[in-house]
């Protein structure tokens, strides 16, 4: 498998795709083990660099798999890794979504929608906290996040880019003024 990286990527990533509950973060640890320790395709340093690149670039953090494929087997590796990681989970979601759709209006369907909504709300706020925690958990981050939420509520037509750009500008100004970055906790 080590000699044929495309096959190796597929064999490793397809099962991980079906285990990635909650998205990329749940498989990062086993992925590192396979890619760095077992297959020795990447050094630990390379893995960590790719991880932070996937966080900075657009797209889900699981695009880390794309970068791993690219690093070890070029464009073909990137494509195979992306399909292997996102394909199986997406097909499963599609199948569940179709079944889910067919029974609209039944009591259990109504209960499922009404019951899953509060779970989603809890997960949404937990996701917000985890991003804030990753970016230093500072007063400035909190203020910018709450401010952005308020602006988006008051101006429903505003393009999100405007708010994201304002966030970037605010933190650049904060760095010039000496308030940012704070020391890592």
């Amino acid at each position: 498998m080590r000699d044929n990286p495309l096959l190796g990527l597929t064999v490793i990533l397809v099962p991980f795709s079906l285990l990635s509950i909650g998205g990329g973060p749940s498989i990062f640890a086993p992925l590192q083990r396979e890619v760095v320790d077992v297959m020795q395709w990447l050094t630990a340093r390379e893995f960590i660099d790719l991880f932070s690149i996937a966080r900075v670039a657009p797209g889900p953090g699981a695009m880390l798999a794309t970068l791993i494929g690219w690093k070890i087997a070029g464009w073909a590796g990137a494509l195979v890794a992306t399909l292997a990681l996102f394909g199986p989970a997406s097909i499963l979601t599609l199948m569940v979504a179709r079944v889910y759709d067919r029974y609209r209006g039944r009591d259990w369907h109504t209960a499922l929608e009404a019951g899953l909504a509060p779970v989603a709300v809890g997960l949404i706020f937990a996701g917000a906290i985890s991003i804030i925690r990753l970016s230093g958990n500072s007063m400035l981050t909190w203020a910018a996040a709450v401010g952005a939420g308020a602006v988006l509520t008051l101006r429903p037509k505003l393009h999100p880019f405007v708010v994201l750009f304002a966030g970037a500008a605010l933190f650049v100004v904060a760095e010039i003024a000496g308030f940012w970055p704070i020391a890592a906790p």
Partner: protein
């Protein structure tokens, strides 16, 4: 045949999800999806979006790709799901590789990290807005509000693993939401 709204063109699905994917910096992507798909395009109701979000979080796969599959399926079936999935991943696929190629140069740009932190903070604002909307719609009664709070504390504060929390919270919440006197089990 009951009256159905006009079909959403595949081209529109591609355009919307390509834009969302290519500009999804710093997390908060599902917040942006909610804003465009529910708020601006009116493609699906808030309840349906939240149900899909909860499904997407419970199922394996990245939230962003699962939501693309779910919304695409709602609009145009399996074909719509495939178009939305490819569209949402296409931008990140090339951009993440581009960033990996440019990373060593990019970190030398002044204020690069601060700008990234600011974008992430503003993106959290979108997540907060989505969570607030969801809470106002789906968590007005005591039981769903407690479920949402419990999930938030378990995942966001205590950082328990997602799978066991979801396996307890989701069936409990659905059972509590079951219509009284239902025989349709």
């Amino acid at each position: 045949m009951p009256e159905t709204p006009p079909k959403v063109p595949l081209r529109d699905i591609f355009r919307v999800f390509f834009t969302i994917g290519a500009s999804s910096f710093g997390g908060g992507v599902t917040g942006w999806m909610h804003r465009i798909a529910v708020g601006q395009r009116g493609w699906l109701t808030n309840e349906k979006f939240l149900a899909g979000l909860a499904l997407g979080q419970v199922l394996p796969g990245a939230n962003v790709t699962n939501m693309a599959v779910y919304i695409g399926q709602q609009l145009r079936g399996a074909l719509g799901a495939a178009v939305a999935l490819v569209a949402v991943l296409m931008g990140p696929f090339f951009l993440v590789i581009a960033v990996a190629t440019l990373y060593d140069e990019a970190i030398k740009i002044p204020f690069f990290h601060s700008a990234m932190d600011g974008i992430a903070a503003a993106a959290v604002g979108m997540v907060l807005r989505m969570g607030t909307t969801g809470a106002l719609h789906g968590c007005r009664k005591a039981a769903p509000a407690l479920i949402a709070l419990g999930v938030f504390v378990a995942i966001g504060i205590l950082q328990w693993p997602l799978a066991p929390v979801a396996l307890v919270a989701a069936p409990l919440s659905v059972a509590l939401a079951w219509p009284r006197g239902s025989r349709d089990a």
